[in-house]
C-alpha cells in the first residue's frame, strides 16, 4: 500500500509487519518516533503478541532484548548516538551470544559537543562489535531493510543494525510502499532460534572461554559475516522477486561501468551524490557512484569489482576516525589493495552539516583534476579553524573550542536533544 508518511512511521510499520514479540527501547532523538509508533501500536492492541517494555537506559534496553531473544522471542530495539555508546557493552555481548536482535540506529553524531544531528559516528563506533550493519538510502529502503534484517539475523543467528540517517530519513515525509502482512509473512517465517532457554532442554548460554578456544570463537563470528556476504544479495534478490523492488544487497553501483571517477558513500547522501553525478554525466564527465548498503560485512570483492577500473575513488564519509581520517576509506582501500588508482577521503556532513550539491560538484571537479588533499573536510570553515588555533596558542586555558566557535559564529545551539 502506498503511503505518504514519516520515515520513522514507515519503519515502525515495517517492524510491526515482522511480528516482533518483544520491543524495548529508551528514548533518544532522532530514534524516538520509531519506538513511540510501536509503543502506540502495542498499547492499542494492534500488535498482538508483542510486549513493549520501557526501560531505564539503553544498556537495559539491549539487555532486555538479549534476554528476550535468548528465550526465543523475536526482539527489536532502536537507538542513536549516545544511546548506542551507553549500550556498547551489550552490543558486543548480543553479537557474541549470536542473538538475532534487530536494532535501528537513527544515525546521529556523538558528543561532546552534544549534537543531535545526523552523521555516522555512532554506528561506525560499533563496526567491530560483530553486528551486521545495513545502511538505508531512502525511507523505502529503510522499511524494506528491516524486513530483510529479521530474515538475515535469524538465518545467521547474528544481530543486525539497520542504520538510517537521523532526521534526514527518520523525520522526512516520503511516499513509501508498505507491504501487506501476507507478503511479509511469506518472506519472513516464524522465528526458530538456534539456541534457546528452555526448561525442557536446558543449556548453559554464555560460558567463559579461555585462550584455548577464544580464537576459534572469534573466527566463527567472522565466518558468520562472510556467510552474510552471500546471504545478503540472495535475500535482496528474493525480496525483489517477492515485493517487486530492489532494496538492500551489498553495494549498489550507479553509472560506474565506464566511470573514471567513482564516489563511494553510505546512506541517504547517495541521493544527492547521484544528482551531481547525473549533472556531471550530462556534461560528459565519466563519473559514477557506489552506495554501500552492507557496511558489515564489508563487501571487499563486490567493491573491488565495482571500482578497480576507475582512475580515482572518492570516499564520502559522515564520520571521522580522529587522527587518521576516514573509516569507510580504510575498507575501500583494502578492497582495492594492489590496484593503482587515486583515493580520496572526504569527511562530510558531520553533526548535521548540510552536504549540498554545490559543494559536492566542486569537490568532484577538484578530485577530477586531482587537486584534492588525501583527507578533505567538506566545507570546512578555514577561518574559524585558523583563528581558533591561534587563540589556543595564546593561552593554555583557552576554554572549550565548541563554545568559542559558536560565540564567534553568533549562533545559539538549537534543539539539543
Amino acid at each position: 500500500m502506498l503511503k505518504q508518511t514519516e520515515g520513522s512511521r514507515a519503519v515502525a510499520e515495517a517492524i510491526a509487519l515482522c511480528r516482533p514479540e518483544v520491543i524495548c527501547a529508551y528514548p533518544i532523538t532522532p530514534q524516538t518516533h520509531i519506538v513511540e509508533g510501536l509503543g502506540e501500536m502495542v498499547k492499542a492492541g494492534e500488535l498482538a503478541g508483542c510486549e513493549f517494555i520501557n526501560v531505564e537506559s539503553e544498556f537495559a534496553a539491549l539487555s532486555v532484548a538479549i534476554g528476550a531473544s535468548a528465550a526465543g522471542a523475536r526482539t527489536y530495539t532502536a537507538t542513536s548516538s549516545q544511546g548506542l555508546l551507553f549500550m556498547a557493552e551489550a552490543v558486543y555481548n548480543a553479537a557474541g551470544l549470536g542473538l538475532p536482535i534487530v536494532m535501528t540506529i537513527g544515525n546521529r553524531a556523538i558528543g561532546a559537543p552534544i549534537n543531535i544531528w545526523n552523521d555516522h559516528s555512532d554506528s561506525m563506533s560499533m563496526r567491530d562489535a560483530g553486528w551486521i550493519q545495513l545502511f538505508a538510502e531512502t525511507n523505502q529502503e529503510a522499511l524494506d531493510l528491516h524486513i530483510q534484517a529479521f530474515r538475515l539475523a535469524e538465518e545467521l543467528s547474528c544481530p543486525v543494525m539497520v542504520c538510517m540517517d537521523g532526521f534526514i530519513l527518520t523525520h522526512a515525509y516520503d511516499r513509501v510502499d508498505v507491504p501487506a502482512q501476507a507478503e511479509v509473512d511469506a518472506f519472513l517465517p516464524a522465528f526458530e532460534p538456534r539456541q534457546v532457554l528452555d526448561p525442557a532442554e536446558p543449556v548453559t548460554i554464555g560460558a567463559m572461554v579461555g585462550p584455548e578456544a577464544f580464537t576459534e570463537v572469534r573466527y566463527l563470528a567472522h565466518h558468520k559475516q562472510l556467510r552474510a556476504l552471500a546471504l545478503i544479495p540472495h535475500l535482496s534478490s528474493e525480496f525483489a522477486a517477492k515485493f517487486g523492488r530492489a532494496s538492500g544487497g551489498l553495494i549498489r553501483p550507479y553509472r560506474t561501468s565506464d566511470a573514471e571517477t567513482i564516489v563511494v558513500a553510505l546512506g541517504s547522501v547517495i541521493g544527492t551524490v547521484k544528482e551531481v553525478v547525473d549533472d556531471m554525466r550530462g556534461e560528459g564527465v565519466a563519473i559514477g557512484c557506489v552506495s554501500i548498503c552492507s557496511f558489515r560485512p564489508f563487501p571487499l570483492t563486490a567493491l573491488r569489482e565495482a571500482l578497480e577500473h576507475a582512475k580515482r575513488v572518492i570516499v564520502l564519509e559522515k564520520c571521522l576516525a580522529v587522527g587518521l581520517g576516514g573509516i569507510v576509506s580504510d575498507g575501500v582501500r583494502k578492497a582495492l589493495s594492489g590496484v593503482m588508482l587515486k583515493g580520496y577521503t572526504v569527511i562530510a556532513g558531520l553533526g548535521g552539516r548540510a552536504i549540498t550539491r554545490k559543494s559536492l560538484r566542486q569537490l568532484f571537479e577538484d578530485a577530477g583534476a586531482d587537486e584534492l588533499e588525501q583527507v578533505t573536510f567538506l566545507d570546512l570553515n578555514a577561518d574559524i579553524v585558523a583563528s581558533e588555533l591561534e587563540r589556543e596558542t595564546l593561552s593554555r586555558r583557552s576554554g572549550p573550542t565548541a563554545e568559542a566557535i559558536l560565540r564567534r559564529l553568533g549562533t545559539v545551539a538549537s534543539g539539543i536533544g
Binding site: 531505564e56 539487555s63 538479549i66 532457554l197 525442557a200 532442554e201 543449556v203 548453559t204 554464555g206
Partner: protein, 346 residues
Amino acid sequence: MSTHDTPTERPTQRQPVKFYQTGTFTVGNRLLPENVRSVQADMRRTNSLNSGHRACQGCGEALGARYAIDAAMQATRNQLIAVNATGCLEVFSTPYPETSWQIPWIHSLFGNAAAVASGVAAAMRVKGHSDVRVVAQGGDGGTTDIGFGCLSGMFERNDDVLYLCYDNEAYMNTGVQRSSATPPGARTATTPAVGRQPGNEFGTGKNVPAIAMAHRIPYVATASVANLRDLEQKVTTAMAIRGARYIHIHVPCPLGWGSAPADTIRIARLAVESGLFPLYEAHDGQVTARTPIRRRVPVDDYLKLQKRFAHLFANEAGKERIALVQAVADRNIAEFGLLAGDDAHG
C-alpha cells in the same frame, strides 16, 4: 529433565513442629513427613549447581546458589530459567567446556542480569509460558553497584523476576575489592588495613534490601546460608508471588574474608546471631517477619574468625572500632526487634 516430575507441595510457613533431637535447624529430619522436609534433604533434589564447579573450598556462594536455585526449582516444578551476572558464581560454574548448571542458564554481562531477566520474563509472557519463571542472580558487586540501575528498573517495572543477590561483601572474582556491600572496617584490596583508619570506611555502604523495599515491590527478604530452612521458605514464598522479588543472601567467602573453609556456615551463623545480618522479610515494602536471634553473641565472635578484621584486634584503637561494629549490630537488633518473638524457641 532428569529430576522428579511429581514434586510435593511445600508449605510456605516455617516448620510448625519442633523435633528436639533432630532439630528444627538441621537440613533434614527423618521424623518429619517427607513433604515438610527441606529441599536439600531430598534425595532427588535438583543439584541445580552440580559437582565439578571450580569454587574455592568452602565457598558460601556456591552453597547459597544451590540452596536457592534448588528451592526455586522445587517451587516451580523445574520450570525455571536463570540469568547470571558476571562474578565468581558465573566464572566458577561455566568455564568452557564444562558447565555445572543443570537448568537453562544465561550469562550476559556484569551489570545487566536484572534486565536480561526482564527480557526472558517478557519472552515467556508473550509465548504464553506463564509457568516458566525467571531468576536473576549475581554477587553483591553485580547487584548493589554496577547492576543497580538495571535492578532498580526491573523492580520499578515490577517485572516477574526473582533477583537473588549473593552477598560476599566484596568483588571477589577480581581479587577482593571493596563494593558498596563491604562492611565497615573490613580489609579489601582497595581498602587496605593500613593508616589511621584501616579497612573500609565507617559510615559508607548501601542497604539494598531497604532500597528494594522502597520500590514497594511485592517481596523482599534477607537470608543466610546459615539458616537453610529460612532461606528455602523465603525462596518458596517468593516463587508463589508474581512481580519483582528480591532476596539478599549472606554468603561467606573463605578467600576474601580470610576464614577457614570449614567455618563458612559458622561465620554466617555468627553474623545472624550477632545482629550484623538481620534476617527478615517484607511484603509490599513493609517488614512482615523477622527471624529472631536464638543465641545472641557479641560481634567479636564473628569478627575474630576472619582475617579481614584481624587489624581490629591488633591494638587499642581497634577496640573502639569493634565497638562501632557492635553498635551497628545493636541498632539492627533494635530496629528489627530481633530478640523479641519466640519463633525459634521451643
